[in-house]
Structures are given as structure tokens and as C-alpha cells.
């Protein structure tokens, strides 16, 4: 199986879906001539031309709205945000137009649109550009939200997102774009709403998604050396969420740690914990713990940023705590 980068996996997904359906187009800042701020759209302008690969001014609210309008009249736009930090300006279109139109039009207007871009912190981008937005987006009925952590899942989920008749948020990661993984050359999709067991173990469930999957995999490796077998549940989709997979894992291991990039308060992990306490109460041998970013704006200083982010050491410590070791 070919090994490609996360960035190329996304590129292939867009290319294949544009070849498959001529209603699909890509629009955003620097997507065409510059080939994408993170080179996700490399080569697409040359292949599909400027009618389908559209550069926009720096107007997030504007081009998100153009996207929603075009979806209303039958196109299937992919809107790239250079980062989800910039997409804050476009949230009115995402939340009030895209997510609500089907409902408020009494079912007349599907909005088959994809909003995608990097989410969460990279390195030393400071407080305004280092934020994980999933809890804001997952909160909204009418949106679907996916957060792949591997090239395979990125390609499969983006293809599902493009084919979905509803607005789908795709949360990528700047630090993920260069990561590599096996991606089959033949056609496949990853269904939205299905979690994936990235590691199988019977000692502790470690539940995460998106970029944190990398952290979780390293934590699982380290714990395995100490004889602790982690059941690593990669949610992949945050809305709809695969609650059955969470419950199945926790019933097996009797303990859980939820790892996420964002802040603790009202984070997506809090929702995961709620499902666990509701459906696995009698299966729990320890309180569920969460590993999150420190409850502060992301520091710029390298050492402070490192201290604020959830990492392998914090994850390992949390797993050991719910295992009652150390």
C-alpha cells in the first residue's frame, strides 16, 4: 500500500471527488495560484482551472457565504479556511446559514458544503492562532464534524464529507500535514460517525480524535512497555459520535481517559465523559479522567507552550492514575 502524507491524502480526496462530480469546487484564500497555504491544493488549479479552484480575498465571512449560496443552488463547495482561527469571522455563515438552512426552509435547501482547514495549535503561533475549535462546532445541531488523525482517515472522511448532503466540518492539523501513513490507491471512503480502534487493549480506554491520536499512539506505546494495554478509540467523527464504540471499550476496560487538544471546560471530552457515566456507570472502576490544554490562552514562549499542551507524559500519567498504579 502506498505511504503518503496527510496533505497528499487530502489532495487526492479533493481531486478524486472533483473528477467524480463536476459540481464540486474548491474556494478559499491562496488555494489556486499559491497552491494552498499548506499545499493541500497543489496541482488542482492546473487540472481543474480557475472556475473550480477559486482564490478569494481575505474575507472569510464573504466567501463562506458565497459557498452557502452556491450550495443552495446545487453546487457542492469545499471551503478552505487557512486556519479555523480565521474561520471565527465566518461562523455566522457556518452556524446561522449552513447549519440552519435545511431546517428553516422546511427541507427545501440542502447545504452540501465542506468547511475545512487546520485546527488547534501548531508551534509558537501564540494565543490567537493556536486554538482548537471543535467544541464550538460540535455544539451546533445541523453540522457534522470530523477530525481525522491519519492520512487514511483524512482521505476517507473528506470524500464522505464532500458526498454528504449536509454541511460537514473537517478539522485538520498543521502538524498533521507532513505525517505519513498507508493509503490505498483504490477507491474507499470512511463513513462519518464511525470510530476506529487504533490499538486494542483491555486495561484502559484512551479516547481521542484528530491530532491527539498521534499523542495517544505514543502514550500507548510507552504504556505497553510497562505492561499496560490501552484500548485506543479514535473517534474520527465528533458529530455524530460513535457512542457505541466508546461504551464497548469502557465496558471492556472499566476505566477511561479522554484526551483532547482544546480547553477543558465544556470540551468535547466532557460530552464523552457524559456518555460514559450514563451508559457505563456500573462498569467503572475509577473516575474518568481528561487530559486537555491548560486553561489559559496559548503561551508564545516555547517552554510555556509545551507546558500548556496535552502531551504523552500527561496522558501516560492519567492512564496510570485511573489504573491506580503509581
Amino acid at each position: 500500500m502506498p505511504v503518503i502524507t496527510f496533505r497528499d491524502a487530502l489532495n487526492h480526496a479533493i481531486r478524486e471527488e472533483m473528477q467524480r462530480d463536476d459540481r464540486v469546487f474548491l474556494m478559499g484564500e491562496e488555494v489556486a495560484v499559491y497552491q494552498g497555504a499548506y499545499k493541500v491544493s497543489k496541482g488542482l488549479l492546473q487540472e481543474f482551472g480557475e472556475m473550480r479552484i477559486v482564490d478569494t480575498p481575505i474575507t472569510e465571512l464573504g466567501f463562506a457565504g458565497v459557498g452557502v449560496g452556491s450550495a443552495m443552488v446545487g453546487l457542492r463547495p469545499i471551503i478552505e479556511f487557512m486556519t479555523w482561527n480565521f474561520a471565527l469571522l465566518a461562523l455566522d455563515q457556518v452556524v446561522n446559514s449552513a447549519a440552519k438552512m435545511l431546517y428553516m426552509s422546511g427541507g427545501q435547501f440542502n447545504i452540501p458544503i465542506v468547511f475545512r482547514g487546520p485546527n488547534g495549535a501548531a508551534l509558537q503561533l501564540a494565543a490567537q492562532h493556536s486554538q482548537a475549535w471543535e467544541s464550538w462546532l460540535v455544539h451546533i445541531p445541523g453540522l457534522k464534524v470530523v477530525a481525522p488523525g491519519t492520512p487514511y482517515d483524512a482521505k476517507g472522511l473528506l470524500k464522505s464529507a464532500v458526498r454528504d448532503d449536509n454541511p460537514v466540518i473537517v478539522l485538520e492539523g498543521e502538524m498533521l500535514y507532513n505525517t505519513k501513513g498507508e493509503v490505498p490507491s483504490e477507491e474507499y471512503v470512511v463513513p462519518i460517525g464511525e470510530a476506529d480502534l487504533k490499538r486494542e487493549g483491555d486495561h484502559c480506554s484512551l479516547i481521542t480524535w484528530g491530532k491527539s491520536v498521534l499523542v495517544a499512539l505514543q502514550a500507548a506505546d510507552q504504556l505497553a512497555k510497562e505492561g499496560i494495554r490501552v484500548d485506543l478509540v479514535d473517534l474520527r467523527s465528533l458529530r455524530p459520535m460513535d457512542v457505541a464504540a466508546i461504551v464497548k471499550s469502557v465496558r471492556k476496560t472499566n476505566r477511561a481517559v479522554v484526551l483532547e487538544e482544546g480547553w477543558e471546560v465544556c470540551g468535547v471530552g466532557a460530552q464523552v465523559v457524559d456518555y460514559i457515566q450514563r451508559d457505563c456507570f456500573d462498569d467503572l472502576d475509577a473516575p474518568v479522567l481528561r487530559v486537555t490544554q491548560a486553561d489559559v490562552p496559548m503561551p508564545y514562549a516555547k517552554n510555556l507552550e509545551r507546558a500548556a499542551k496535552p502531551d504523552v507524559a500527561k496522558t501516560v500519567a492519567a492512564v496510570k492514575r485511573v489504573m491506580y498504579v503509581e
Binding site: N254, F281, D282, D283, L284, D285, A286, Y324
Partner: protein, 462 residues
């Protein structure tokens, strides 16, 4: 659609029940509402009814066996329905406790003490792992080993308090019949966790419903009881008998009382001449007018309480509830303990009504056929040991009530009346007062009123 049969909370304070008798065999067709079994609660023998239609496919609890409220004791299902899944570990038939705490009274009264003591227990067991997870903590109270105690609810004793336990460990302990109070938790703050349950060596665990030990013939016969007691061991000069439900409840409740309730006692000797005269006069009117001394005392106490609401009260921990009505608890001795049926609105009832009701309640109490609502809800109680020739005694308050009066025997005594010694019929009454509610003077004033009523019984019809 299969229906699980659970041990239900058939009395407000019931935490476990003993299955006295199944009224249907496996294979019998039963309808919702049919009586399936007779169950001995902490107070009485009650009927357990079917909650669904079908065939009683499985009886999981043997007659005479005890199990916690919420435990699975049977399955009703269609004839051809596969019920293996419901039976869990099949042969072991581990009951999955689904603790029912929908009856609020079930925990009131002891919750307070239990929670408080939990803190102490935690501190005591806080020395975590070094203590060794398998060391069974010696029970502070004499819990005979063979008494199956399979849920934390059942072991929530005043002396021990609630063991902190993870939900999983609680479930596993219940399934395996492990007494949580015998374990020392190795988790944070002494929490009992899965590994503590698993460290219990298999021989100590009792899979599923423990079988009651066979009663060993003993030179010393255990006291006669309504439901046959389970003798659990026997030596040359003694017989150990498993606690009945009611004996357990009495122990728990009375310990609760004598411990935290600051009690003081007031005693008075009452002249009973007029009461005796009244009683004879009424008896002469015919059998229909016969009343007992006790009936007259009950009537007098109820009347006096109406005038002294400061004594007709419940201690609620952070408040005191004074009652405008008198629901009089009446302690009745029954073969293996006592029970306190209630004469509701006793203050508003005529002597004849009180007489009729007390006779009926006492008779049914001795047959253990009282319903829970007939022995709960009293505001004040009366205990009478006069018929045993007891001159005077102190009764233990029935919490949350604030007082109880203990009635002694009526005896002829020489007393000085107007400077001359004469023989009069006299009766001693001792009132136990919860000092948190009743002060010395207020209790004394109540007894003053009571004396006036008893020594002038015509006031009872005034």
C-alpha cells in the same frame, strides 16, 4: 418479553428480604399482579407480586434464603423464550443488584450517621496498599460469618458506615456474594476497586445466592419464632442463631437511638383509682363497653399531646417538626421482637375506637400481617410492660420521634392521702425525652397534664 422478578422493597426501611415461601412452581403460568411469593421484610411477611405475564421460568432464590433488595430472584417469560442472558452466569445465577433507592425512607435516619461514620472509616483505612488488600477487616460488630450479606446496602451498618467502592467493584461484589465490609480498599481514600474484589480468594466468595447453612440440632432450642430461625452454629452450652430481618432492624434502629439521641427520663407515679372505677363501671354496661387500662392511657396520652405539641415532634437533624395531629405508636411484643403499629389521629378518636383499633393492630402484629403503612408515621410512642409485672422502666425513643412513655404495672400500694396511709392502685410512667427537642420543664408539664387526665378520666370525655 421476559420480566425479571426482583426482591422488592416491601417496607420503607427494607434493605434485604428473606423468601419465606414460593407460591408458584417453575412452569406455572402467572399473570401480572399474581402473588409469587411470601417475603419476610424487616418488619412483616409481605406478598411479592408478578410484574408481568408469562410462565415462571426460573426461581433463583430458595425458600428461607435472604437477598438484598433489587436482586434478581426469578424470571417470568414465554415458554419458548431464551432466558439464558437474563440468568447471567447460568448455574451460578448471580443476582445483579439493581439498587432501588426510590423509597426515600429507606435511607433516611441512617444516612446521616452512615455518611458521618464513613469519613471515620476512610481515615481508618486510609493506609492504602501496604495494609494488604486481602486482609479482611475484623468487624466491629458480631456479624456471624454465614449470614449472607451480599450488597453494600445490606452492610450499611451504623458501626461501619458506607465503604467507598467503585461502581464496578460494587457490582462485582454483589455478583460474587462478597461482603464489602470485609475488604480494605486499595484505591484513593480507601476506595474498594476491582482488584480488591479479585484478590478475594475464591473459597471466600460465595457464588450467587449463598445457601443457608443447615440447622444443626442443638441441646438448647432457639426461641420460638414466627419464621423458623436459622441456627448457624452450636456449641455445648450455646446456640448461635442467624439474625432475623426484624432483629437486625431493631438492632440498627435502637443503636441509632441510644447512641446519638441525648435522652433524659422523667418518672411519675399516677393514681389509678378513678381509672379503675371508670373501667369497672364501663364493663358493667356490657362486653361492648370493655376497655383496657392501656386503652385509657393511650387516649390520655393522645389528649395530652394535643395540648403539648412541643412533645409531639420529630427531630429532623436541621429542624424540628411539631405535629398538630397525634399518631400514636403502640409497641407490641411479637414472638421474635417488637413492632410499633400506629393509631392515626388518636387525639380525635373516641375511647371505643382506640380500644377496637389497638386490639386489632396488636392481633395482626402478632400474626405479622401488618402493612408497612400501619407501622410507620407515628409522632410519639407508648410502650407498656405492665402486663409483665414491671413496676417501671425506661423505653428507648423511636427516632425521629422526640419522646416515648413507658407504662408500668398497676399495683396496690400504701400511700399517704390527707395525712393517712391508705392503699391505692398506682401506676408508674416514665417518659424518655430527646433533649434536643424536649426540655426538662416541657416534658414535666406534659406529664402534669397526663397525670391530671389519668387521675380525672372524666376529662377525657370533656
Amino acid at each position: 418479553m421476559a420480566t425479571k422478578v426482583f426482591m422488592e422493597a416491601l417496607s420503607p426501611t427494607m434493605e434485604e428480604g428473606r423468601l419465606v415461601k414460593w407460591l408458584h412452581r417453575e412452569g406455572d403460568v402467572v399473570k401480572s399482579g399474581d402473588t409469587l411469593a411470601e417475603v419476610e421484610t424487616d418488619k412483616a411477611i409481605m406478598e411479592l407480586v408478578a410484574r408481568g405475564d408469562g410462565v415462571l421460568r426460573k426461581r433463583l432464590l430458595g425458600e428461607g434464603e435472604t437477598i438484598a433488595v433489587g436482586s434478581l430472584i426469578g424470571v417470568i417469560a414465554a415458554n419458548d423464550e431464551n432466558i439464558d442472558a437474563l440468568l447471567g452466569g447460568a448455574a451460578s445465577a448471580a443476582p445483579i443488584a439493581e439498587p432501588r433507592v426510590d423509597s426515600p425512607q429507606a435511607t433516611t435516619g441512617q444516612g446521616d450517621a452512615g455518611e458521618r461514620l464513613t469519613g471515620g472509616t476512610e481515615r481508618a483505612t486510609a493506609s492504602p496498599r501496604s495494609a494488604g488488600a486481602t486482609t479482611p477487616a475484623s468487624s466491629a460488630h458480631d456479624r456471624p460469618d454465614a449470614v449472607p450479606s451480599i450488597t453494600p446496602a445490606a452492610t450499611t451498618g451504623v458501626e461501619i458506615g458506607r465503604a467507598k467502592t467503585s461502581p464496578l467493584a460494587r457490582r462485582l461484589a454483589s455478583e460474587r456474594g462478597i461482603d464489602l465490609t470485609s475488604l480494605q480498599g486499595s484505591g484513593p481514600g480507601g476506595r474498594i476497586v476491582k482488584r480488591d474484589i479479585e484478590s478475594v480468594v475464591p473459597s471466600e466468595s460465595r457464588p450467587g445466592v449463598p445457601a443457608p447453612s443447615v440447622a444443626v440440632p442443638s441441646p438448647i432450642a432457639p426461641p420460638a419464632q414466627a419464621a423458623p430461625p436459622i441456627a448457624i452454629s452450636s456449641g455445648g452450652d450455646h446456640t448461635d442463631v442467624a439474625l432475623t430481618q426484624i432483629r437486625k432492624t431493631i438492632a440498627r434502629r435502637l443503636a441509632e437511638s441510644i447512641g446519638p439521641v441525648p435522652t433524659f427520663y422523667l418518672t411519675g407515679e399516677f393514681d389509678m383509682e378513678r381509672v379503675a372505677d371508670m373501667r369497672s363501671a364501663m364493663a358493667e354496661l356490657g362486653d361492648g363497653y370493655k376497655v383496657s387500662f392501656n386503652d385509657i392511657v393511650l387516649k390520655a396520652v393522645a389528649t395530652a399531646l394535643l395540648q403539648h405539641p412541643e412533645c409531639n415532634a420529630h427531630w429532623l437533624g436541621d429542624s424540628i417538626r411539631y405535629f398538630g395531629r397525634v399518631h400514636l405508636g403502640m409497641a407490641v411484643a411479637i414472638p421474635d421482637g417488637l413492632i410499633t403499629p400506629v393509631i392515626f389521629d388518636a387525639h380525635a378518636k373516641r375511647l371505643s375506637e382506640i380500644a377496637r383499633e389497638s386490639r386489632d393492630l396488636a392481633a395482626r402484629a402478632r400474626d405479622r400481617r401488618l402493612k408497612p403503612n400501619e407501622y410507620t408515621g407515628s409522632t410519639f410512642s407508648v410502650s407498656n410492660l405492665g402486663m409483665f409485672g414491671i413496676d417501671d422502666f425506661t423505653a428507648i425513643i423511636n427516632p425521629p420521634e422526640a419522646g416515648i412513655v413507658a407504662i408500668g404495672a398497676i399495683e396496690q400500694k400504701p400511700v399517704a392521702v390527707d395525712g393517712a396511709v391508705v392503699v391505692r392502685r398506682r401506676m408508674r410512667i416514665t417518659m424518655s425525652c430527646d433533649h434536643r427537642v424536649i426540655d426538662g420543664a416541657s416534658g414535666a408539664r406534659f406529664l402534669q397534664t397526663l397525670r391530671r387526665l389519668i387521675e380525672n378520666p372524666l376529662l377525657l370525655v370533656y
